[in-house]
Amino acid sequence: MTPLAMTAEIDFAGRQSVGKRAEQEDTYAFSEIPARPGAATGVLLVVADGMGGHSAGHRGSEMAVRNFVRAFHQGGETMHERFTRALDAANEAIAAAVEADPVHLDGMGTTLLAVAATPLGLEWVSVGDSPLYLWRRGRLRRLNADHSFRPVLHEKVASGEMTQEQAETSSLRTRLRAAVNGHEIALVDMPRTPLPLLEGDIVLAGSDGLQTLSDEAIGEAVARSADAEASSLAVHVVQAVLDAQQPKQDNTTAAIFKPPADWLFAPFAFAAPAPEPEIVVDDSANTTQRIVPRSLRSSSQAGDHPAPDP
């Protein structure tokens, strides 16, 4: 099987909703991970949830994603090496932008979740609270660390230092312990070994707007469309969040990857880095931002429509 044929079979898609917010501050991107001849192509997925006033949230997430994807493709022998370099590039881009325009961009920052799916398994680097889920055989599990204060509050409740009610109403729930904001990154979740993917697995990466729903409810929404293509699955997940009618619904992004069965046992090795990887930014629809290499856009249904906003 040629790498090109494998590329065409890979099923992935993302959808977004602005929710009840004035602006879409989430950015996501899919990007092909080129492989050596005879090996299978991988997929890189990046989700960023921006923060800061004066449109800094929107700009921060877009800037981080674009710089992360570009640096990732510039090379590195291991996924770890590529992730580390790309995260640094994203962080430095934000530092440079804030330095150039401190009046408007002070406080600009973003979460950043990057997921690489290859036949060797799932690898990720995560800063912040953008969740990565794996749906396997009817059950949804969160894979990445949560760098908001939710786990800290949970711990306090467990040890009796706080009541459940205090924890649930605390304004700290959605605040972050780490972000990509041009300073030192306090916490980075980057497991050392890939998590193998199995046939029928569904990978869901998103922004914390998804967490209007419980993990169980997200799992149910995935289960209802588990056999559907990634594009309709992503629409259904975003729609399930909107159906909850949370009056202050945050920006919501759902990006789906479904590993093809015959791809799981294919060899994988990075191709030699291209001098200037092609990255296409398309934010013509003002509720959606996507960065997808042209080669992938022509061979898949990735990210072509935003989810309907009611």
């Binding site: 923060m51 230092e161 799981l264």
Partner: protein, 202 residues
């Protein structure tokens, strides 16, 4: 507007970059998760987050430009468990590490001497490739194991024969990488797979 602001994603701001960061241990793996490391202080502050404005700008994470790995959860470690159940083992018959075993999981198991390898042969045999010396695959549909050569120039032998392409693995087969001989011990196969269980493994 203030209400909405509360729901937005916001970073607990740390000290400004000009401020002197506190001294930190050289070994970055020893940097504790700050939120959990100082429960009393963080708790006080959580109960009264809008109090002292000074408190809001306190260091919440370590001020250090370092990529630090925070394990996501026990489930994603390579020690097995629900997400990565064991399907077999490779036992070191001879060479450095003799007497040890390494676990195999579903899908592709990369052999190498790097600690990040899924099958990490980090016993001191420098003639094993750092990464992807060879792969052991377990394919659950056919319940069959395979051995496949890796990406590098270092050779792999199966029962004494040079491995040129993917070959089925059978119980007690001997795999040779570098100066190390490994015996293949399957758990899954025709008579057992975790899929057979009514419940996924806990």
């Amino acid at each position: 507007m203030a209400d909405e602001e509360d729901e937005k994603t916001r970073l607990i701001r740390r000290q400004s970059p000009q401020a002197q960061p506190p001294p930190l241990p050289e070994d970055e793996t020893e940097i504790p998760d700050a939120g959990l490391a100082k429960p009393t202080r963080v708790l006080d502050w959580m109960m009264n987050p809008e109090g002292e404005s000074d408190e809001k700008t306190k260091l919440v994470g370590p001020a250090r430009r370092a990529v630090k790995t925070e394990p996501a959860s026990a489930e994603t470690s390579s020690d097995g468990g629900e997400l990565d159940p064991v399907v077999g083992w490779l036992v070191v018959l001879s060479g450095p590490g003799r007497g040890n075993a390494r676990r195999l999981g579903y899908g592709q198991n990369s052999l190498g001497r790097d600690k990040g390898e899924r099958v990490s042969l980090d016993f001191g045999d420098g003639s094993i490739s750092r990464s992807k010396h060879a792969f052991v695959l377990y394919e659950p549909r056919k319940r069959q194991f395979y051995l496949r050569p890796g990406d590098g120039a270092n050779l792999t032998y199966l029962n004494g024969d040079l491995l040129a392409d993917s070959r089925p693995l059978n119980p007690s087969d001997v795999i040779e990488v570098g100066a190390t001989k490994l015996r293949f011990v399957p758990l899954c196969g025709p008579d057992f797979d975790w899929e057979d269980q009514a419940q996924p493994p806990k």
